[in-house]
Symmetry: C2
Subunit: 563 residues, 2 copies
Amino acid sequence: MVSYVTEEIPPSVWYGWGDPARAKALGEGALGFLRTTLGLSGVQRDNPPVEHSEVRLVPSALGEPALEELRGICGEEHVSTGRSERILHAGGKSTPDLLRIRGGDALGAPDAVIFPGSSEEVREVLGICVRRRIAVVAFGGGTSVVRGVEPLRGCFAAVLTLDMRRMSKLLDIDPLSRTASFEAGIRGPGIEAALEPHGFTMGHFPQSHQEATLGGYVATRSAGQASTGYGRSDALVKAVHLETPVGPMDVGSLAPGSAAGPKLLDVVVGSEGTMGVITSATVKIAPLPARKSYGAWSFPDFQAGAAALRMLEQDGVRGDMPHICRLSDTDETAATFKLGGFKTGALASYLRRRGQSSPALALFVWEGPKTETAARKRRSARILRAAGGVGLGPMPATAWERGRFSGPYLRDELLTRGVYVETLETAATWTKLAATYAAVRIAILAALEAGGGRGYVQTHVSHVYPDGASLYFTFLGGLEQDAQAQNARVKEAASNAIVATGATITHHHGVGRDHAPYLDAEIGELGIKVLTGIKETLDPSGIMNPGKLIPAPTNPAATKEKP
Amino acid sequence: MVSYVTEEIPPSVWYGWGDPARAKALGEGALGFLRTTLGLSGVQRDNPPVEHSEVRLVPSALGEPALEELRGICGEEHVSTGRSERILHAGGKSTPDLLRIRGGDALGAPDAVIFPGSSEEVREVLGICVRRRIAVVAFGGGTSVVRGVEPLRGCFAAVLTLDMRRMSKLLDIDPLSRTASFEAGIRGPGIEAALEPHGFTMGHFPQSHQEATLGGYVATRSAGQASTGYGRSDALVKAVHLETPVGPMDVGSLAPGSAAGPKLLDVVVGSEGTMGVITSATVKIAPLPARKSYGAWSFPDFQAGAAALRMLEQDGVRGDMPHICRLSDTDETAATFKLGGFKTGALASYLRRRGQSSPALALFVWEGPKTETAARKRRSARILRAAGGVGLGPMPATAWERGRFSGPYLRDELLTRGVYVETLETAATWTKLAATYAAVRIAILAALEAGGGRGYVQTHVSHVYPDGASLYFTFLGGLEQDAQAQNARVKEAASNAIVATGATITHHHGVGRDHAPYLDAEIGELGIKVLTGIKETLDPSGIMNPGKLIPAPTNPAATKEKP
């Protein structure tokens, strides 16, 4: 019944997201919305990516001796310096990544792409890289939107990307203890396809599900769309095998709880390839839900909706919380209604009669056994109604679910039509949520409009916790001439607003290069020192994903490791 | 309604547990049980602790200049080299600790006991200790049973104990986000007394609740009796303020979820005073339960009971799991029935008629709103009955709750009567639970009887998780002449069995000195290296609780810090 989550698609196209055959064209409604909202005259398809043949690359810095050694480990067919592979691995999928690659700039591409087949091969490759002073970037689905997989050479002789796609096996499943172990390169659909015959799911469905890998989930401390119910990746992962430049390391315990000192697993989770390469992981699994119950509720405004979500989480019957819980602000709600094929006139007048002239839409999915989900939904409805909600039936939630992985395709089309679009996210306590929402939203709008054009921001709560919630911002404007500067300006303004209101710099996208400058505001100088110290223990020569998460070593020549 | 958890009692007596006025004498039934089970003839009260005046101390190694500096920071009345305070802080409350101190040996007592009043005072004290090469032990309730607060001088000039009892204020409460911040020296009852007027509880009730402190909970990654419902201390804590020898450090985030890199909070949680002194912490709080529903069920044997607990956790309605969930093996069940004032004859024949000749007793407490707990209990009962359980009504659970904090008092009385008693604990996956139970139980029995006498072990599951459960072993034997060697022999045998079956060396007691030798089996040599590296960053001179958790620096003279 959940087979659409097991559907494999090819690795993302070089210039954009996923499989372009799945992208839908923008309808007239959407184009009109863009013209009106952003004040753009054309939004024609006049800004396409360059031809593949026009993409600029520098020659690989890797010489034959190094390549011969690498081929000796992984096999000739798994070591590529070919143009296609290098371009495909030149970066992640943030808007600035796409702007760069669409413009034909793959000058930062890795010198080679290696496809290791085992932990042992990864270990041997790292040995060569230490000896030859080659930087190493682990690459899962390549969907980082924070420049986490950008192959930075830094002061190193060259940079390799390790694409983990060959390591995609289910290693072990323990139905009694409800855990499963996988190689780290397995992608979201592969995980679900492997678990489905056993009656289980991992329950981790980020928007990047069809591309992203288990290793990427763990390395970035990701959250998925159903993490309100199943838990974030950091709650799901129990153990990790890491290959570091100083040797293999198993972190985490299969024991369900432990007081055996600091939890080192939480040092590796979120380490973003800077400590080593995650080659396998053991995660908690849950029974496949026999039933999903869907619900949509409209609230007088975003704050009323947020209060309703808080009450549902805090005051609802223990266990009743929906697995998926999203709340759009009035802007996102208006766009959803307008572009989602709703009978907007009838809906708007119905809601206006109920006192909701600028409604905020909340979507819910309860998953579980048949008898249970209906009861949970029924009890939850009482709380939502008491909190001022108006029930809209299941349709908006089922419609959302059908398109749950397709959002990023829109971006490629928007960029082609000269529209700048990006997203960012944070999380704050319930107490601070309204202030963070207001400050970040205003900062983004002001920064968008500082370029002279109009800006548009829509926001939703994507994850709900007892102590707070996440905020996910999507924003658009006309593409400026210097789109990279435009993006940097908006991102900086938003990040400063996040820091100023005491929220986290990232709820689930990770740190990468984009958020590294803000990490010390979050964990302090001493925190950075601790991270740097851990990296020095595990990666004394500093070859692992340099420039991400924490500052790259300024003098990598002063390595403790000798070739 | 939960006011018994807010009751303050004095700090523990020097030779044993808590307030001796609260200890109950052993009845004839218990004495008979000991004589029969352990084959001891007397069990008379002929092994009392020495007189306080007879306790042996070495003179304080701290000279007047150092003491003057310390008095200048904390005030004269908060710096003690007095005999009473030094003896009180000579160690924790493990059986070997008590054997030593009851025998009059306080030779390992700290050179002084300091009672700091603020984070700033802690910071200044650490500055002096770095400069003067003095080791520092942070001391909360002093209830460590793994030798975690033993003041080891190591190669240092002296050792200070920082008793945190003056730092016991509620700093902040956020009812909307359900968090509260406290100074770290606040004890369990103080936490609950501070939250009760606001309608909240922390829900953390280890057996040491009346003595232990919040800082201790966090430092040891503790679990409480209701942690199956409220979560372990590592799930409750959101942020910590740590004073390290290189400066103050705030770890953790108030944001409800974050992908901002490795979670450094989990490096400080469980650090057992080896990285710095926890001076305050922010924790999640929950509404005070309006109702508790109690239940007791009997199962044909321990394995059947464990399977029932697993089904309850895995197959029960989401959220129905009891907050407290315990399962005794047949030995512990027999002892509970015999010594607990039950009509054992009638009960035994009733259970025998139901096919349970050697039953295993499970106790449950559901906490929550009135309407909810009864429904959760009713639905759970169906699962327990289907799993072979026989309902025994609420009484065994309410009786357990009345005595929930009194267990450790028994030990003082048993030691006085020449009976060796100790506890240890672990956790394993459901898949491995039976093997760990059998191996550890047999190892303890064999090691007890290797001394020539008889041994007795009883075991219970104290915490239940989706992926496994904890095991808590209590064991007795006649005290041997060399009781320390007896204890070491049993502890070593049990620890080896735990390691061999892939369970964790400690589920909630912590590492301390006792488990430090087994840590590398759990986290690997590289894991130890990472911990050592973190310690070198935060405590380069190695003064923080040396000899605990990880090996003490072998050459502390080679410090990176200069006075």
